[in-house]
Protein backbone atom coordinates (compact mmCIF):
# COMPACT_ATOMS: atom_id res chain seq x y z
CA UNK A 1 0.00 0.00 0.00
CA UNK A 2 2.72 2.37 1.02
CA UNK A 3 4.77 1.58 -2.08
CA UNK A 4 1.68 2.21 -4.15
CA UNK A 5 1.31 5.64 -2.57
CA UNK A 6 4.98 6.35 -3.08
CA UNK A 7 4.77 5.28 -6.70
CA UNK A 8 1.73 7.46 -7.12
CA UNK A 9 3.50 10.44 -5.57
CA UNK A 10 6.49 9.79 -7.79
CA UNK A 11 4.42 9.83 -11.00
CA UNK A 12 2.36 12.69 -9.71
CA UNK A 13 5.55 14.59 -8.99
CA UNK A 14 6.90 13.75 -12.44
CA UNK A 15 3.80 15.17 -14.08
CA UNK A 16 4.88 18.60 -12.92
CA UNK A 17 8.50 18.05 -13.74
CA UNK A 18 10.14 20.49 -16.12
CA UNK A 19 13.90 20.14 -16.27
CA UNK A 20 14.33 23.01 -18.73
CA UNK A 21 12.42 25.41 -16.50
CA UNK A 22 14.43 24.40 -13.42
CA UNK A 23 17.68 24.91 -15.30
CA UNK A 24 16.47 28.27 -16.58
CA UNK A 25 15.65 29.20 -12.98
CA UNK A 26 19.16 28.23 -11.87
CA UNK A 27 20.69 30.34 -14.65
CA UNK A 28 18.58 33.36 -13.67
CA UNK A 29 19.77 32.93 -10.08
CA UNK A 30 23.37 32.66 -11.30
CA UNK A 31 22.93 35.97 -13.16
CA UNK A 32 21.89 37.71 -9.93
CA UNK A 33 24.99 36.25 -8.27
CA UNK A 34 27.21 37.49 -11.11
CA UNK A 35 25.75 40.98 -10.71
CA UNK A 36 26.17 40.83 -6.91
CA UNK A 37 29.87 39.97 -7.12
CA UNK A 38 30.25 42.25 -10.14
CA UNK A 39 29.07 45.15 -7.97
CA UNK A 40 31.63 44.22 -5.32
CA UNK A 41 34.34 44.09 -7.97
CA UNK A 42 33.39 47.64 -8.99
CA UNK A 43 33.69 48.79 -5.36
CA UNK A 44 37.09 47.09 -5.14
CA UNK A 45 38.32 48.65 -8.41
CA UNK A 46 37.25 52.16 -7.41
CA UNK A 47 38.96 52.00 -4.01
CA UNK A 48 41.98 50.43 -5.64
CA UNK A 49 42.40 53.40 -7.98
CA UNK A 50 41.88 55.81 -5.07
CA UNK A 51 44.32 54.08 -2.67
CA UNK A 52 46.75 52.50 -5.06
CA UNK A 53 49.85 52.46 -2.85
CA UNK A 54 48.06 51.16 0.25
CA UNK A 55 46.40 48.36 -1.74
CA UNK A 56 49.75 47.44 -3.23
CA UNK A 57 51.42 47.16 0.19
CA UNK A 58 48.47 45.40 1.83
CA UNK A 59 48.23 42.76 -0.89
CA UNK A 60 51.77 41.64 -0.03
CA UNK A 61 50.40 40.34 3.28
CA UNK A 62 48.52 37.60 1.42
CA UNK A 63 50.21 34.31 0.55
CA UNK A 64 50.23 33.69 -3.21
CA UNK A 65 51.04 30.00 -2.63
CA UNK A 66 47.94 29.58 -0.46
CA UNK A 67 45.78 31.33 -3.06
CA UNK A 68 47.27 29.25 -5.87
CA UNK A 69 46.62 25.97 -4.04
CA UNK A 70 43.01 26.96 -3.40
CA UNK A 71 42.58 28.01 -7.05
CA UNK A 72 43.77 24.63 -8.27
CA UNK A 73 41.55 22.84 -5.73
CA UNK A 74 38.49 24.69 -7.04
CA UNK A 75 39.41 24.08 -10.68
CA UNK A 76 39.81 20.35 -10.04
CA UNK A 77 36.51 20.26 -8.13
CA UNK A 78 34.80 21.96 -11.08
CA UNK A 79 36.15 19.22 -13.34
CA UNK A 80 35.00 16.44 -10.98
CA UNK A 81 31.46 17.79 -10.78
CA UNK A 82 31.37 18.09 -14.59
CA UNK A 83 32.55 14.47 -14.80
CA UNK A 84 29.83 13.34 -12.40
CA UNK A 85 27.27 14.67 -14.90
CA UNK A 86 28.97 12.70 -17.69
CA UNK A 87 28.80 9.61 -15.46
CA UNK A 88 25.10 9.98 -14.66
CA UNK A 89 24.26 10.65 -18.33
CA UNK A 90 25.98 7.35 -19.14
CA UNK A 91 24.00 5.64 -16.37
CA UNK A 92 27.08 4.96 -14.25
CA UNK A 93 25.75 5.57 -10.75
CA UNK A 94 28.91 4.47 -8.96
CA UNK A 95 31.18 6.83 -10.87
CA UNK A 96 28.70 9.69 -10.46
CA UNK A 97 28.72 9.17 -6.69
CA UNK A 98 32.52 9.01 -6.57
CA UNK A 99 32.86 12.24 -8.52
CA UNK A 100 30.30 14.13 -6.41
CA UNK A 101 31.97 12.83 -3.23
CA UNK A 102 35.35 13.97 -4.56
CA UNK A 103 33.92 17.43 -5.23
CA UNK A 104 32.54 17.67 -1.68
CA UNK A 105 35.91 16.56 -0.29
CA UNK A 106 37.77 19.18 -2.34
CA UNK A 107 35.33 21.85 -1.13
CA UNK A 108 36.12 20.80 2.43
CA UNK A 109 39.88 21.05 1.78
CA UNK A 110 39.31 24.56 0.36
CA UNK A 111 37.49 25.59 3.54
CA UNK A 112 40.22 24.08 5.76
CA UNK A 113 42.85 26.09 3.85
CA UNK A 114 40.70 29.19 4.26
CA UNK A 115 40.45 28.48 7.99
CA UNK A 116 44.24 28.43 8.31
CA UNK A 117 44.63 31.49 6.09
CA UNK A 118 42.08 33.54 8.03
CA UNK A 119 43.28 32.02 11.32
CA UNK A 120 46.81 33.32 10.76
CA UNK A 121 45.39 36.81 10.14
CA UNK A 122 43.22 36.60 13.26
CA UNK A 123 46.23 35.55 15.34
CA UNK A 124 48.00 38.71 14.29
CA UNK A 125 44.98 40.67 15.47
CA UNK A 126 43.77 41.26 11.92
CA UNK A 127 40.03 40.75 11.69
CA UNK A 128 37.07 43.04 10.98
CA UNK A 129 36.54 45.40 13.89
CA UNK A 130 39.81 44.55 15.67
CA UNK A 131 41.98 47.22 17.34
CA UNK A 132 44.68 46.68 14.74
CA UNK A 133 42.20 47.17 11.89
CA UNK A 134 41.01 50.47 13.45
CA UNK A 135 44.59 51.71 13.54
CA UNK A 136 45.27 51.01 9.88
CA UNK A 137 45.31 53.74 7.28
CA UNK A 138 42.16 54.25 5.26
CA UNK A 139 43.48 52.35 2.22
CA UNK A 140 44.80 49.35 4.21
CA UNK A 141 41.55 49.08 6.11
CA UNK A 142 39.54 49.14 2.88
CA UNK A 143 41.73 46.43 1.37
CA UNK A 144 41.38 44.08 4.32
CA UNK A 145 37.68 44.82 4.84
CA UNK A 146 36.99 44.02 1.19
CA UNK A 147 39.25 40.98 1.41
CA UNK A 148 37.39 39.57 4.43
CA UNK A 149 33.97 40.47 3.05
CA UNK A 150 34.45 39.15 -0.48
CA UNK A 151 36.34 35.95 0.41
CA UNK A 152 33.90 35.46 3.30
CA UNK A 153 30.88 35.79 1.02
CA UNK A 154 32.58 33.42 -1.41
CA UNK A 155 33.23 30.98 1.47
CA UNK A 156 29.53 31.11 2.32
CA UNK A 157 28.81 30.12 -1.28
CA UNK A 158 31.19 27.18 -0.87
CA UNK A 159 29.19 26.02 2.16
CA UNK A 160 25.89 26.36 0.26
CA UNK A 161 27.36 24.53 -2.75
CA UNK A 162 28.61 21.73 -0.50
CA UNK A 163 25.18 21.38 1.08
CA UNK A 164 23.55 21.14 -2.36
CA UNK A 165 26.10 18.52 -3.45
CA UNK A 166 25.56 16.46 -0.28
CA UNK A 167 21.79 16.46 -0.88
CA UNK A 168 22.43 15.44 -4.50
CA UNK A 169 24.77 12.64 -3.42
CA UNK A 170 22.11 11.18 -1.11
CA UNK A 171 19.52 11.41 -3.89
CA UNK A 172 21.82 9.65 -6.37
CA UNK A 173 22.26 6.87 -3.82
CA UNK A 174 18.47 6.57 -3.46
CA UNK A 175 18.05 6.58 -7.26
CA UNK A 176 16.02 9.78 -7.04
CA UNK A 177 18.68 11.32 -9.28
CA UNK A 178 19.46 8.97 -12.17
CA UNK A 179 20.29 8.85 -15.87
CA UNK A 180 16.80 9.94 -16.97
CA UNK A 181 16.32 12.47 -14.17
CA UNK A 182 19.40 14.43 -13.19
CA UNK A 183 18.31 18.08 -13.23
CA UNK A 184 19.29 18.43 -9.55
CA UNK A 185 22.84 17.28 -10.24
CA UNK A 186 23.04 19.57 -13.28
CA UNK A 187 21.82 22.58 -11.27
CA UNK A 188 24.07 21.85 -8.27
CA UNK A 189 26.89 21.53 -10.79
CA UNK A 190 26.06 24.90 -12.35
CA UNK A 191 26.06 26.50 -8.91
CA UNK A 192 29.40 24.87 -8.10
CA UNK A 193 30.92 26.21 -11.34
CA UNK A 194 29.69 29.68 -10.37
CA UNK A 195 31.64 29.41 -7.11
CA UNK A 196 34.71 28.54 -9.18
CA UNK A 197 33.98 31.38 -11.61
CA UNK A 198 33.93 33.97 -8.81
CA UNK A 199 37.19 32.66 -7.37
CA UNK A 200 38.83 32.92 -10.83
CA UNK A 201 38.48 36.71 -10.45
CA UNK A 202 39.02 36.96 -6.68
CA UNK A 203 42.41 35.24 -6.88
CA UNK A 204 44.18 37.66 -9.27
CA UNK A 205 42.44 40.72 -7.81
CA UNK A 206 43.47 40.12 -4.20
CA UNK A 207 46.58 37.92 -4.40
CA UNK A 208 48.31 38.74 -7.66
CA UNK A 209 47.96 42.17 -9.23
CA UNK A 210 50.01 45.04 -7.87
Amino acid sequence: METAINAHQETHHDLHRDDHASKLGMWLFIFTEILLFGGLFVVYSVYRTKHHVAFHLAHEELSIAMGLINTIILLVSSATVAMSITAIQRGNKKHAMYFVAATILLALVFLINKYFEWGAKFEHGMYPGSDLMQMLSNGDMLFFSLYFFMTGLHGLHIVVGMTLLIITLVKIKKDLVRSDKYALLENSGLYWHLVDLIWIFLFPLFYLIH
Binding site: W27, K50, L68, A79, A82, T86, D180, K181, H193
Partner: protein
Amino acid sequence: MSNDNSSHISGYKDHLFVLAILITFTVITVAITSVELNAFNTVAALLIATCKAAIVLLYFMHLKFDNKIYLLMTIFVIVILGAVIGVTLFDYLDQ
Protein backbone atom coordinates in the same frame (compact mmCIF):
# COMPACT_ATOMS: atom_id res chain seq x y z
CA MET B 1 9.18 15.96 -24.56
CA SER B 2 10.23 18.85 -22.41
CA ASN B 3 12.35 16.67 -20.13
CA ASP B 4 14.55 14.86 -22.58
CA ASN B 5 18.17 15.53 -21.80
CA SER B 6 19.52 13.54 -24.70
CA SER B 7 21.88 16.29 -25.71
CA HIS B 8 25.64 16.36 -26.04
CA ILE B 9 27.61 14.26 -23.54
CA SER B 10 31.17 15.43 -22.86
CA GLY B 11 33.63 12.63 -22.13
CA TYR B 12 35.84 12.39 -19.03
CA LYS B 13 38.87 13.16 -21.18
CA ASP B 14 37.27 16.37 -22.51
CA HIS B 15 36.83 17.60 -18.93
CA LEU B 16 40.41 16.68 -18.00
CA PHE B 17 41.69 18.51 -21.08
CA VAL B 18 39.74 21.65 -20.10
CA LEU B 19 41.08 21.31 -16.55
CA ALA B 20 44.66 21.11 -17.83
CA ILE B 21 44.16 24.31 -19.86
CA LEU B 22 42.66 26.12 -16.84
CA ILE B 23 45.56 25.12 -14.57
CA THR B 24 48.09 26.15 -17.23
CA PHE B 25 46.42 29.57 -17.48
CA THR B 26 46.53 29.91 -13.68
CA VAL B 27 50.24 29.14 -13.55
CA ILE B 28 50.89 31.61 -16.42
CA THR B 29 49.03 34.35 -14.50
CA VAL B 30 51.11 33.77 -11.36
CA ALA B 31 54.32 33.80 -13.46
CA ILE B 32 53.39 37.01 -15.32
CA THR B 33 52.34 38.91 -12.20
CA SER B 34 55.53 37.90 -10.35
CA VAL B 35 57.47 40.02 -12.86
CA GLU B 36 57.35 43.78 -12.35
CA LEU B 37 55.43 45.15 -15.35
CA ASN B 38 53.34 47.87 -13.69
CA ALA B 39 49.93 48.39 -15.26
CA PHE B 40 50.46 45.55 -17.71
CA ASN B 41 50.29 43.12 -14.76
CA THR B 42 46.69 44.00 -14.05
CA VAL B 43 45.64 43.94 -17.69
CA ALA B 44 47.29 40.57 -18.31
CA ALA B 45 45.90 38.99 -15.12
CA LEU B 46 42.36 40.16 -15.82
CA LEU B 47 42.55 39.15 -19.48
CA ILE B 48 43.63 35.62 -18.56
CA ALA B 49 40.96 35.45 -15.81
CA THR B 50 38.34 36.42 -18.41
CA CYS B 51 39.58 33.67 -20.75
CA LYS B 52 39.39 31.15 -17.88
CA ALA B 53 35.88 32.30 -17.01
CA ALA B 54 34.83 31.93 -20.67
CA ILE B 55 36.23 28.37 -20.77
CA VAL B 56 34.37 27.43 -17.55
CA LEU B 57 31.12 28.92 -18.91
CA LEU B 58 31.39 27.30 -22.35
CA TYR B 59 32.65 23.83 -21.43
CA PHE B 60 32.03 23.07 -17.74
CA MET B 61 28.73 24.95 -17.65
CA HIS B 62 27.90 23.51 -21.06
CA LEU B 63 26.88 26.79 -22.70
CA LYS B 64 28.57 25.72 -25.95
CA PHE B 65 26.38 22.62 -26.31
CA ASP B 66 23.21 23.68 -24.49
CA ASN B 67 20.18 25.51 -25.80
CA LYS B 68 21.51 28.78 -27.26
CA ILE B 69 19.10 30.84 -25.14
CA TYR B 70 21.37 30.33 -22.09
CA LEU B 71 24.40 31.56 -24.02
CA LEU B 72 22.51 34.64 -25.28
CA MET B 73 21.26 35.53 -21.80
CA THR B 74 24.75 35.10 -20.31
CA ILE B 75 26.29 37.36 -22.96
CA PHE B 76 23.58 39.93 -22.26
CA VAL B 77 24.34 39.91 -18.51
CA ILE B 78 28.10 40.14 -19.13
CA VAL B 79 27.60 43.11 -21.48
CA ILE B 80 25.52 44.91 -18.82
CA LEU B 81 28.13 44.19 -16.14
CA GLY B 82 30.90 45.30 -18.51
CA ALA B 83 29.07 48.55 -19.20
CA VAL B 84 28.66 49.27 -15.47
CA ILE B 85 32.33 48.54 -14.77
CA GLY B 86 33.45 50.53 -17.83
CA VAL B 87 31.40 53.64 -17.06
CA THR B 88 32.42 53.64 -13.38
CA LEU B 89 36.11 53.27 -14.15
CA PHE B 90 36.12 55.94 -16.87
CA ASP B 91 34.51 58.26 -14.36
CA TYR B 92 37.14 57.57 -11.68
CA LEU B 93 40.15 57.51 -13.95
CA ASP B 94 39.14 60.96 -15.19
CA GLN B 95 39.28 62.52 -11.75
